[in-house]
Symmetry: C3
Subunit: 106 residues, 3 copies
């Protein structure tokens, strides 16, 4: 058994939990905060049998992968003739896989 | 040393913490949410010497075991002559025991 | 790779996160509650390469060490001639170092 500890953005959390649940994987969500940006994010605990670690990593990779997103131009003080959209990076996941010595469902 | 990670219902949390403290076991409580029901629950961290894992598991088993509870009949739209109480399942605990390489009290 | 799980007082948290970030260490903060005093505290997750465990423990030891603090005398019901300051213990850190089988930045 392994415990997978996943830190993801709040926006990606509902989709990841839904995909995990559809595949029969159980999870527990903890509200957390990033140490650098000091912004809210999500820490997810997913306990799985060893042979399910790779399929879960695949689900995370598909749902939370880092990607560029075009945001409508954020109005600045200086009126500019061309309001080009702004490209920002979103998503991403930090994943720790930890060994579980004992697992009990009481 | 082991770190015991326990996911339990909010209602069982005060009793479990009290029982653990009475036996001299220390704990840290984290507010969490279940991935399936999306309802609040509790994740408890309990760090213990290896020989105390089994006694702690016994305390969890006694305090949080799954049980049936009779709830007064929840009034439904259709008035029924017989207001039988409704039986629901409560309690339960999901427990991960993880090995601790180093423990420090600074 | 190791995951360092640190329980500290809320007051010491900003200084510890700042010191860790300055040294290039990343962290995730979880709001928690102590099982004995039932007061809010902080649980910090810090994932580091094995050779960085000791330097991180040093940073914790310097930032969160238990220390005596003089608090201005808390006015009591009985007016006393001498308002001596009260000495209380603050700080301290409880640290669990756990082995990480796999680490992924997606
Ligand atoms: N080794 C580790 N141990 C424990 N938790 C970890 C961790 N690595 C990452 N995290 C967690 O994952 C969040 C996202 O990290 P990511 O590397 O994708 O995205 C990071 C990274 O791209 C950047 N960043 C973080 N620290 C940085 C630094 N010292 N210098 C430059 N950029 C940094 O800022 C983003 C947000 O960081 P933030 O700390 O707010 O939020 C982090 C933190 O909560
Ligand atoms: N895919 C599914 N299909 C049918 N029924 C499902 C289901 N997923 C969960 N359930 C049922 O719903 C209860 C609440 O699940 P929830 O995910 O909200 O709340 C869970 C979750 O927060 C945590 N948990 C359970 N297994 C976990 C695991 N392997 N990894 C991480 N957290 C787990 O413990 C809480 C209680 O779990 P417990 O098993 O006692 O009770 C579960 C289980 O009886
Ligand atoms: N049964 C008892 N009898 C007498 N005094 C007691 C006691 N339990 C705790 N204390 C004292 O109260 C302080 C706060 O404990 P609390 O459980 O609220 O807050 C704790 C708890 O959240 C966490 N913690 C400590 N040991 C732990 C363990 N083995 N497992 C999980 N969490 C632990 O670290 C916080 C600070 O612990 P720290 O040892 O520095 O400081 C402890 C300790 O000095």
């Amino acid at each position: 058994m392994k415990l997978i500890i996943i830190v993801i953005e709040d926006d990606d959390t509902p989709a990841l939990i839904r995909k995990l649940t559809e595949q029969g994987y159980r999870s527990t969500k903890l509200a957390s905060t990033g140490g650098f940006l000091l912004q809210g994010n999500t820490t997810l605990l997913v306990g799985v049998e060893d042979e399910h670690v790779d399929p879960v990593l695949d689900i995370i990779r598909q749902t939370c992968v880092r990607r560029k997103k075009l945001l409508p131009h954020v109005a600045s003080e200086i009126p500019t003739a061309i309001n080009l959209p702004v490209e920002v990076e979103v998503g991403g996941a930090i994943v720790f896989v930890v060994d579980v010595q004992q697992f009990h469902e009481m």
